[in-house]
């Protein structure tokens, strides 16, 4: 892990692969959180589930 990272260069953007993975991963995680079904809890006060 101590060997140099690969850097990607687009125009003025220069980013390391690990950083790109982190940012890309965050966007994917946010998108998944938006669409993934959320387990509905137990019954509410009226007994509806």
């Amino acid at each position: 892990m101590d060997s140099p990272a690969t850097y990607l260069h687009w125009g003025f953007i220069l980013i390391s692969t690990p950083n790109l993975l982190v940012i890309g991963g965050m966007l994917v995680l946010f998108a998944i959180a938006l669409v993934a079904p959320f387990p509905h809890g137990g019954k509410d006060e009226d007994g509806h589930g």
């Binding site: 990272a5 390391s16 993975l21 938006l34």
Partner: protein
């Protein structure tokens, strides 16, 4: 005021369902723990050993001597820095905004004395040749000193290195060859690290002189450039090796890569010469704007226009649709 409305009033008519916050927290702690422990076991963390003045003097003795000579000549970054180290430079300013000057010389550094003369004086015990040459230097006029440093700096560009020793072509350099050879020898043994860090005391925790001196050279910044850590390589975001860095600093470091902050001529008085000040002002304004989003038109309305919330609250907007 809406904030004084009780929760019972606020949620009146809203269906409440069971939700276990404490269990959620415990699961979160466990989940993050598994993630973090796993990454620690598999990937460890970065720890590249620090550079020292000794490694600098051994790896690149010509750069070391060039830097030391430039300290005497007053041409290094630190020598001409300005406050808080000295008053030899104006510092960064944007029109009347010049905070670098406002608080005085609170961390005094006299580059020539701190990095060259005083360490040599301390190390000169019993070394009559060095003491004599230091005396020649101290007694010479600034004009004469300038001639020597200019000549020696030029000679160093064609110097040869053998067994860590620097040899220059013959010329009139006054006391500089003796001074620089001694300083180089002192540095290579680690003595200069010690003298600059300890500076006559016993305990200390302030590394200002050593770090400023190393920053004046090309060796440490050169290592940093290889690791993509410098300012115009988005360096603020990066880490050594293949570890993720400080991705949250992306916007802060981005400005250093674009005009006017990376341009020598700049725009509206902001250029690469005062980029640090310009970017700090800009990021302060943007951070305040982020804090005040609830009160800023357009910024506070974007969530309505880009309806990501319709996914979050789909149970509310389409109540027949059950996941």
């Amino acid at each position: 005021m809406k904030s004084m409305q009780t929760q019972e009033e606020y949620y009146s008519g809203v269906r409440m369902v069971r939700y276990d916050l404490v269990k959620e927290l415990v699961l979160a702690v466990a989940g993050v723990g598994i993630l973090v422990l796993g990454l620690s076991v598999v990937l460890s963390s970065p720890d590249v050993p620090p550079a020292t003045i000794a490694t600098w003097a051994l790896s690149d003795p010509v750069d070391f001597q060039t830097t030391a000579t430039n300290e005497l000549a007053g041409t290094t970054t630190s020598a001409a820095y300005g406050n808080p180290y000295n008053t030899n430079g104006p510092g960064q300013s944007w029109g009347p905004i010049a905070p670098q000057k406002w608080f005085g010389t609170r961390i005094p550094i006299d580059s020539a004395n701190t990095f060259v003369i005083q360490p040599l004086q301390r190390a000169a015990t019993g070394n009559t040749d060095l003491l004599a040459q230091l005396d020649v230097w101290q007694k010479a006029s600034p004009d004469q000193q300038g001639k020597w440093t200019a000549a020696y700096t030029k000679a160093l560009t064609t110097a040869t290195v053998k067994d860590g020793q620097v040899t220059v072509a013959d010329g009139d350099y006054g006391p500089l060859p003796v001074m620089m050879t001694n300083l180089l020898g002192l540095a290579q043994t680690g003595g200069l690290d010690g003298l600059l860090q300890v500076n006559g005391r016993f305990y200390q925790t302030d590394y200002t002189p050593s770090l400023v001196f190393m920053g004046d050279g090309a060796y440490l910044p050169g290592l940093a450039a290889q690791a993509n850590l410098t300012g115009n390589q988005w360096g603020m975001m990066n880490e050594t090796g293949r570890y993720p860095g400080q991705t949250w600093l992306w916007l802060y470091t981005m400005w250093y890569q674009v005009p006017p902050f990376n341009s020598p001529t700049g725009f509206l008085g902001i250029s690469s010469a005062n980029a640090d000040l310009g970017i700090i002002i800009l990021m302060t304004l943007l951070t305040v704007a982020l804090a005040l989003v609830p009160f800023i038109p357009v910024l506070r309305d974007i969530p309505r226009w880009i309806p990501i919330h319709r996914l979050v609250w789909r149970a509310y907007y389409s109540p027949k649709v059950r996941s």
